[in-house]
């Protein structure tokens, strides 16, 4: 298919990122996307805007300031009590109205529960293309967004364009794009836009919110060090070796999918295509074969250290360091070695 952008879309300009805020908390993927959006905007020679839908309050003002520090030139702000909690109807109406009014050429959202719920509705309302769960974004020679995403569980990548509709929409996995450095003191324009809606016209009501007792879900994706175990550990008791090492390192722990399927670890600990994407400085994978669906979730790690008895295990094809050996012996030895080393460092001050 050729690019023949209809006249009505010619004035759609600039790159937008949804600043995803839920219950006063900005999801870090928003900043990752501003970092990536900055590159796209610079390539196109256009502005980068954050779109923030939120309830009134200090947290909202802070989010605006942070958006500037992470690279936004301007922020479209819809501040209204009806937007304090995520609900599809008011959020979709708000986002659609913003797009129709200010006409961005590219609209990016995190591939979170909120982002995916919202993006599907907005793209359908606007009758435009939406590329899901992307891991790479680029601008092609015609100035179109080239969005690359894994499919079939990561065995394949495909690059998708929305040539003749605007905005070009994409959701992007958290932790795939690097977190940009915050530039303190950077500021920009705020464009306020009102939500035209009454609570009485919102059909879905929030009866309650049950906060997670431990925020472990979020922590795994954003941990600096992650230790994970796979089926190579043999039995559920052996996962203590993984959690012991994690404890010494102040790290988070995780596992491969079959470990979850066996019921040895809860689903929120799964790493990979259908689990969490992680981007730690150090990832230690013990008894994990390195299937493509696992690989796509860990590739952003600075150092991948694999422990596997099989010298031909696939994981050695993308690990930075490896030990061919029995994880049941190496893990406790590693725990000890780190413990000793850290004790020495602490003494040294």
């Amino acid at each position: 298919m050729k690019k023949e952008l209809p006249e009505r879309f010619r004035d759609y300009k600039h790159v937008w990122v949804l600043i995803e805020m839920e219950r006063g908390q900005v999801h870090p993927v928003s900043w990752e996307l501003l970092g990536e959006g900055r590159k796209l905007a610079d390539k196109l020679g256009v502005e980068l805007a954050g779109a923030l839908l939120a309830g009134p309050g200090e947290a909202t003002q802070k989010a605006v300031d942070e958006a500037f520090s992470y690279g936004a030139d301007l922020v479209y702000l819809m501040e209204d009590p009806l937007l304090a909690d995520y609900r599809n109807q008011p959020y979709a109406a708000a986002m659609t109205d913003l797009v129709n009014t200010y006409k961005p050429e590219i609209l990016l959202m995190g591939a979170t529960n909120l982002g995916r719920d919202l993006a599907g509705t907005v793209a359908t309302t606007l009758a435009t293309g939406l590329t899901a769960d992307c891991t790479e974004l680029a601008i092609d020679h015609e100035g179109s967004l080239a969005a690359t995403r894994p499919t079939f569980g990561g065995t394949l990548l495909c690059t998708i364009h929305t040539l003749n509709f605007r905005p070009q929409m994409a959701t992007i996995r958290p932790r795939v794009m690097a977190m940009p450095e915050a530039q303190e003191g950077r500021s920009g324009r705020v464009i306020r836009h009102a939500l035209v809606m009454e609570e009485s016209s919102i059909i879905t009501k929030i009866l309650d919110f049950i906060a997670d007792a431990n925020m472990e879900k979020a922590q795994l994706a954003y941990a600096d060090i992650v230790v994970a175990g796979g089926m190579g550990l043999g039995r559920p008791e052996n996962f203590k070796l993984v959690t012991d090492l994690a404890a010494v390192l102040g790290a988070e722990y995780g596992c491969s999918r079959p470990v979850v399927q066996k019921g040895w670890m809860p689903a929120e600990r799964q790493i990979g295509q259908t689990g969490k994407t992680i981007r730690p400085r150090l990832y230690i994978a013990a008894g994990i074969s390195g299937a493509i669906q696992h690989r796509v979730g860990v590739e952003g790690s600075d150092i991948i250290l694999a422990i596997n008895t099989d010298p031909n295990a696939t994981i050695f094809e993308f690990a930075h360091m490896g030990i061919v050996g029995d994880a049941l012996q190496i893990l406790p030895a590693l725990t000890e070695a780190f413990r000793r080393r850290l004790a020495v460092n602490r003494l040294a001050g």
Binding site: N113, D117, P150, F152, I160, D208, I210, I323, R341
Partner: protein, 278 residues
């Protein structure tokens, strides 16, 4: 209570290859299954029907061979099944897919009003999670995605209460029927079909609908024509150039191996040593 469940037939294994010339996916010879995420939605629908009475209609858009997946749903206890199949649907992206499915569901509703639509959270092949929200939008239904639990359905009041997974917690939401729900994996377990249902499935004649049967008169929004996204390139992930630095273990104790490893890790990432244990 009339519930429509959307299911998709997907390739069973991730071992899919791409045609080197046409860049299309070669599905030949790969066994197919019902998208695993759809089973949680089907089971929830069956439970609600068992509890409140009524019927479950299963629908899929796909090639003729998808009849097998629909019959499987009948064997689990679904009452009726419709295959939406037509050349004009070929090459649909999620926008065109949700158009076709929403049209068909609206048509189904003309003879038997629909109280709920269930979709899977996402598929394991296209994996977009966009079709459910697309259908809800087109049918002007409220959508409840990532539902961990259906707390109650009150048919008289036309109300439903669910627990929905969101970032950092669970929202308890109440909304109006008809609505669209996608269930979270692990929220229930698919039943074994009864003997009766197994026999019924074997004899069951799946209704086949083309675009006209689905009430679509203008096909501009269908298939490739109705799809704003264009797949430009399909390719395998590039292999990594550098091989792993493998630490020798022969003749060493685990302790020596671990020490050697630490030295190596910290040499590669000097900042790490300072940060750990802080």
């Amino acid at each position: 209570m009339h519930i429509v469940v959307c299911i998709k037939q997907v390739p069973d294994s991730a071992q899919i290859r791409v045609h080197p010339v046409t860049n299309t996916i070669m599905r030949q010879g790969v066994p197919t299954i019902i998208n695993p995420y759809d089973l949680f939605s089907l089971e929830e629908a069956l439970r609600l029907r068992d509890q409140l009475g009524g019927k479950v209609t299963v629908i899929t858009m796909g090639p003729k061979m998808a009849i097998e997946a629909l019959k499987k749903c009948i064997s689990y206890g679904a009452d009726d099944a419709i295959l939406l199949t037509d050349k004009v649907f070929a090459g649909s992206d999620t926008l065109a897919t949700s158009f076709a499915l929403a049209s068909a569901i609206a048509k189904i509703g003309e003879t038997n009003p629909v109280d709920m639509v269930f979709c899977g959270k996402q598929t394991i092949d296209g994996d977009t999670a966009q079709v459910g929200p697309g259908i809800a939008r087109r049918l002007h239904m409220q959508q409840l995605t990532y539902v961990a639990q259906v707390e109650k359905v009150d048919l008289d009041k036309g109300e439903i209460v669910v627990h929905r997974r969101s970032e950092g917690g669970v929202q308890v939401l109440a909304t109006r029927l008809p609505c669209l729900v996608t269930m979270l994996e692990g929220s229930n377990e698919m039943r074994y079909g009864s003997m009766d249902d197994l026999f019924r499935a074997a004899r069951y004649e799946v209704a086949e609908w083309d675009h006209k049967a689905a009430g679509i008169t203008v096909t501009a929004q269908c298939g490739l024509k109705g799809s704003p996204t264009v797949v430009k390139k399909v390719f395998a992930p590039p292999a990594k150039a550098v091989k792993a630095e493998v630490i020798k273990t022969e003749g060493k104790t685990p302790r020596e191996v671990a020490d050697a490893l630490l030295t190596s890790v910290f040499a590669k990432h000097p900042k790490l040593e300072m940060e750990i244990g802080q």
